[in-house]
């Protein structure tokens, strides 16, 4: 029975290609064939990178390098839910940093145990997601604008939290207990990272949530036709708000794993992830106008992006990171975050 409904939903989707998305909807007419294309892309990447540099295929290096893209993997599957409802979430990247710095400061300066600090971070970050989601769903403000404001607000909050610490904010808080580092550092058989396993678990949960659960039906229908969803007794506002909480939760998980993996809590962790996340979600076949999306497609797309991110520098010596990565160059960082540099210049 549910399959039937999916088919009708998808059929109406393809017929009524929404204006402004005609190009993408034409290409992604069938999710199945789109996923095959993504698989082909991934295989090509393996062949090309593997041929260019055999080191690429070494499992040890492969998984270690892929760890760098893990936040994108995790967050993009949750942002898929948001985009299916027709919204967008560009604040998730700032929530990663907020999670990280709350864990650090709560553990080091506020006397929380590390697990208590993690719990606090998750609660605060999900509340942030709920706040933005509330404004979008109940006050009917455009998702793009609210999450834009949110990205300023939450990265600002992270910065404020970092000033409450006794450690200088640019240094980052480190020295976490081993039990916490275990989360990001442990590898099964010395090869397969635990955090990758956590990601796969989350992926399965997200797949079931979207495709096999009542909640997933509600999310898809809220995106396809909000009015019909409302008339069929779905609380669309609550559903839409919940997707933002979901993406915030994913950002919190990513922030926890990233902090544990790097061993340092910083307020600007993950601040450059927004573009990769949105790219992964769209490349995975999610309609920007809402109503259709696939967790598997997005997972494949984010994997393809992750491979490029690590394959290009390794095999062709091309840096795909922005050279002025905020963590690397303190001088740049100052310039990037505030106008004060500019003002000193003019006053001089």
């Amino acid at each position: 029975m549910p399959e039937d409904r999916t088919k009708t939903v998808e059929a109406t989707q393809t017929k009524a290609a929404k204006p402004g998305a005609s190009l993408l909807s034409r290409i992604t007419a069938g999710q199945g064939s789109w996923n095959m294309l993504l698989m082909a892309l991934i295989i090509i990447e393996f062949v090309v990178f593997g041929a260019a540099n055999p080191k690429f295929l070494r499992p040890q290096l492969f998984f270690t390098s892929l760890n760098d893209s893990l936040p994108v993997f995790i967050i993009s599957i949750a942002v898929t839910f948001v985009m299916i409802t027709g919204g967008i979430d560009i604040q998730v990247a700032s929530l990663v940093g907020l999670t990280s710095i709350i864990i650090g400061v709560a553990w080091q300066d506020w006397g929380f145990s590390i697990w208590g600090a993690i719990l606090l971070a998750i609660v605060v970050v999900v509340a942030c997601g709920a706040f933005s989601g509330f404004l979008i769903a109940y006050c009917r403000v455009q998702a793009m604008v609210v999450t834009l404001g949110g990205s300023f607000l939450y990265s600002g909050l992270a910065l404020i939290v970092s000033t409450m610490s006794s450690t200088e904010s640019y240094q980052g808080i480190s020295g976490f207990p081993d039990a916490f580092k275990f989360l990001g550092g442990y590898k099964f058989f010395d090869v397969f990272p635990l955090q990758m396993a956590i990601y796969l678990l989350l992926l399965v949960i997200a797949f079931i949530l979207l495709n096999k659960s009542k909640y997933g039906r509600k999310v898809i229908l809220s995106g396809t036709n909000p009015r019909a969803a409302e008339y069929s007794g779905i609380n669309t506002r609550l559903t839409i708000m919940s997707t933002y909480m979901l993406s915030a939760f994913a950002a919190a998980i990513a922030g926890i794993l990233l902090t544990s993996y790097l061993g340092t809590a910083k307020s600007d962790l993950g601040s450059d992830l927004t573009m990769d996340i949105i790219t992964a979600v769209v490349l995975g076949g999610t309609l920007v106008t809402g109503g259709r999306g696939s967790v598997i497609g997005v997972a494949l797309a984010s994997f393809a992006i992750g491979l490029v991110r690590f394959g290009m520098p390794l095999c062709f010596k091309v840096s795909t990171q922005y050279p002025g990565h905020p963590h690397r160059n303190p001088a740049d960082r100052h310039h990037r975050w505030s106008f004060s540099g500019e003002q000193h210049q003019c006053r001089d």
């Binding site: 204006p19 402004g20 998305a21 005609s22 190009l23 993408l24 967008i88 404004l135 006050c139 009917r140 403000v141 455009q142 793009m144 604008v145 609210v146 834009l148 404001g149 949110g150 990205s151 300023f152 607000l153 939450y154 990265s155 600002g156 909050l157 910065l159 404020i160 970092s162 000033t163 573009m275 949105i278 790219t279 769209v282 920007v288 106008t289 840096s319 922005y322 050279p323 002025g324 905020p326 740049d332 310039h335 990037r336 975050w337 505030s338 106008f339 004060s340 540099g341 500019e342 003002q343 210049q345 003019c346 006053r347």
Partner: protein, 342 residues
């Protein structure tokens, strides 16, 4: 009297009021702020944002967005900076910069208007490509040692303490505003943003209008890049990142809706001043610049939410008014019919 009412009703005036209130509050807390030098410094710092925001406004008018303006600005600043450093003619460098900006705008416009790709996604992709190009062009190094005359020109003042650049930007905003409101083609942008199919039906070439707005956006970002070069005197590899979001924020503060078809270019010009002066104002209020982002976010959210609630309320009011009018019409008609029947 009518003119005053019209001005008060305009959405930009609330942004102006907000800006004035902001300055007065800061002045009340720290009276030393209210000097000509400080207030004009707020305006002068905003020149780059003003230009980018006005360009962004054009893409928001048509209901789209351009998030590549930041890297557009950065790329143009890098190329112009390198040309000037290597002793090239200023006019030539500016022409090359503006040409590149226009070309980027054309590519964005082609993707969005002709290929019908979602603008956020397409320009996000272009943004990535431009960042990469910027890195390749400069080799990841800073562009420094620009000619002194070029750098010093940024300090030349025109009116009072306001620099030539800022006065030029304001003049440009006023000219664009007049063109948009007083000419026939000026109305095309908002018509397309409001209802593209409807605009096509009344004979507006919507594809060309959209292309034009992206080109204008690209050119303004390029000019902003050149001015950035002159004001700051060096270009780093992260120059311009984050400008796109600040420009969108300035537009939203200035009363433009992301749904398209609403607003003017004067609003974003005011919004840009608010965005640019927040960190400056914070130092006068005794806060560290760490609060900059958080306060920007709060202001942005408060303004858009208030705006959305007010609009929803006025829409509801209009609906009631229409309903009431229809009911009273029906009643009069009934009475007339009853009288006719007698």
């Amino acid at each position: 009297m009518k003119a005053i009412k019209k001005i008060l009703k305009a959405r930009e005036s609330s942004s102006v009021l907000f800006l004035v209130a902001l300055f007065l509050v800061v002045g009340a807390i720290n009276p030393s702020f209210l000097s000509t030098a400080n207030v004009s410094a707020c305006f002068n710092t905003s020149v780059v944002y003003t230009l980018v925001a006005i360009g962004m406004a054009f893409t928001l008018f048509i209901g789209e967005i351009d998030v590549s303006v930041g890297s557009n600005l950065g790329l143009v600043a890098t190329i112009v900076g390198m040309m000037l450093r290597d002793g090239s003619n200023l006019m030539l460098a500016c022409c090359v910069g503006i040409f590149i900006g226009a070309l980027i705008g054309l590519i964005n416009g082609w993707g969005v208007a002709v290929m019908k790709a979602p603008s956020l996604i397409f320009t996000l992709g272009v943004n990535g490509v431009l960042r990469g190009l910027m890195y390749l062009v400069a080799g990841g190094a800073w562009v420094e040692n620009l000619p002194k005359a070029f750098k010093d020109f940024s300090a030349v003042t025109a009116v009072g303490d306001l620099t030539v650049y800022y006065c030029g930007a304001v003049l440009l905003a006023i000219v664009i505003h007049i063109l948009l409101t007083k000419t026939r083609h000026g109305h095309n942008f908002k018509a397309v943003g409001d209802n593209r199919a409807g605009a096509n039906l009344v004979g507006i070439n919507s594809t060309r209008t959209m292309l034009l707005s992206y080109v204008i956006c690209g050119v303004l970002a390029a000019i902003a890049g050149i001015i950035f070069c002159s004001r700051i005197g060096f270009v780093t590899s992260t120059t311009g990142s984050g400008y796109e979001m600040k420009a969108v924020a300035a537009c939203v503060l200035g009363g433009i809706s992301l749904a398209g078809g609403v607003g003017s270019v004067l609003g974003p010009a005011v919004g840009a001043v608010i965005m640019a002066s927040i960190s400056y104002l914070l130092t006068f209020m005794g806060f560290s610049s760490n609060y900059d982002n958080a306060i920007t976010g709060v202001i942005l959210i408060v303004i858009v939410v208030a705006d959305a609630l007010i609009q929803a309320r006025s829409a509801e009011k209009n609906r009631h008014a229409r309903l009431a009018a229809r009911v009273s019409d029906d009643v009069t008609a009934d009475v007339a019919a009853a009288k006719g029947g007698e």
